[in-house]
């Protein structure tokens, strides 16, 4: 890969009703990673997310209605592909991810002789930075064990959405990305396509307003859905739909 200053880099910020947080997120990215362009994907928000994002100088993709996190992130990757970006990073619009880590991820993506196609920030390689609720820890641990077994590589935080990809990852995700709760399945897709994954220890913030998208009744569905998807993913020779 070319030296970092010659690469065009994009931060994809999916946001759904984050009018209160989005300005801070965009500003923090500009401050810590001024070499990254920012595109906010407003996933059909009913508040002023789109207006605030544009006022902060971010490019804006506005969905006419809510598609869910998978659709929002994929819109970002399609934008990255179309505009020829070499590197794209996902930064959640709720302020959970710290833009201060962006360059840690970039460094790991480009480690000479040990390049990765996707690098993600793991909360469980060190201090997570906040108290991760027990239920999430347990769920995360189960996915971690399953994915580590499948990929034969230590995956400590498969639900982390703080991830950076190179061109190959952008192309893959622009073409195909899971609908809901996409993070775990996306790791399996990368593995199936022989893309290399690294993880980097990061700290995260507790979610902006504690309004996690996953409450108790949904977590059972979450587990079942992702497990089924992982299981079926093993039987897909080419996990990409025929267009």
């Amino acid at each position: 890969m070319a030296p970092p200053d010659q690469l065009s880099k994009l931060a994809i910020v999916p946001a759904y009703n984050e009018g209160d947080m989005i300005a801070r997120v965009v500003r923090e990215i500009h401050r810590h990673a001024p070499d990254f362009d920012v595109v906010v994907v407003d996933d059909g928000s009913a508040d002023d997310t789109a207006r605030v994002a544009e006022a902060e100088g971010a490019a804006l993709i506005r969905h006419p209605f809510n598609l869910g996190i998978g659709g929002a992130v994929q819109s970002g990757y399609k934008y990255a592909l179309r505009n020829g970006y070499d590197v794209a990073i996902q930064v959640d619009g709720d302020g959970q991810h710290k833009p201060a880590h962006i360059h840690d991820l970039l460094e790991s993506l480009q480690t000479a002789g040990d390049e990765a196609d996707m690098v993600y920030g793991s909360r469980f390689r060190g201090d997570p930075g906040y108290k991760v609720p027990l239920g999430r820890r347990v769920g995360n641990m189960i996915f971690s064990v399953v994915l580590t077994a499948i990929t034969r590589q230590r995956i400590t935080d498969p639900t982390s959405g703080f991830r950076m990809t190179n061109r190959r990852g952008i192309e893959l995700f622009a073409r195909d990305y899971p609908h809901d709760y996409p993070e775990v399945e996306a790791l399996l897709m990368l593995h199936a396509h022989r893309l290399r994954v690294h993880e980097v220890p990061v700290r995260m913030n507790a979610r902006g307003f504690g309004r996690s998208s996953i409450d108790y009744p949904r977590s059972a569905y979450y587990m079942a859905k992702v497990m089924l998807a992982l299981f079926i993913g093993l039987f897909r020779r080419r996990p990409t739909p025929v267009e």
Partner: protein, 164 residues
């Protein structure tokens, strides 16, 4: 569903015609599972509905294998003939499913309408912009049907719950 589970469940069944029904139920369930999983693998069915159908198949299997289950369940509700209880339950499930799909279809048609309107709006803006550049005017022409404010920031559809 594993074969070892079936093996341990089947001997519970009474001999004769009853166990034949049970074998049939096991086969039907297995076929249903196979079809559902294959549909997901081919991306014709999303996991959400696959899980639903798998739960239904498992319920069917449970009722067929544990004959006492249906009897005691219908007794509990006060239905004299167990098979009537089964028909009632099946009808109820089918009804709820149909209602759910009606709701889902309504949402889809609403979303399709919004998409068509968005495309039409973009088309109008594009024409207006083209017209403006042909006329050599610096200002893009007024947006057809748009209000003077900033149409891009109209809140989209009514605030709805996330689709998942």
């Amino acid at each position: 569903m594993t074969w070892s589970e079936l093996g341990s469940a089947l001997p519970l069944a009474a001999e004769g015609i009853n166990s034949r029904v049970q074998i049939a139920a096991v086969i039907v369930t297995a076929v249903m599972f196979g079809i559902v999983l294959e549909l997901v693998r081919r991306r014709r069915l999303v996991e959400r509905y696959a899980l639903l159908w798998m739960i239904l198949a498992l319920t069917l299997l449970a009722l067929a294998v544990w004959t006492g289950l249906l009897t005691s369940a219908t007794e509990l509700v006060g239905i004299a003939v167990p098979s009537n209880g089964l028909f009632l339950a099946a009808f109820g499930v089918a009804f709820v499913l149909l209602l759910h799909f009606s709701v889902a279809t309504s949402r889809l048609s609403e979303e399709t309408k919004v998409l068509a309107q968005e495309v039409a709006r973009l088309d109008a803006e594009l024409r207006a912009a083209r017209g403006a550049s042909i006329n050599g005017s610096a200002e893009p022409a007024a947006i057809v049907g748009g209000d003077a404010e900033d149409p891009a920031h109209e809140p989209p559809v009514a605030p709805e719950k996330p689709t998942q």
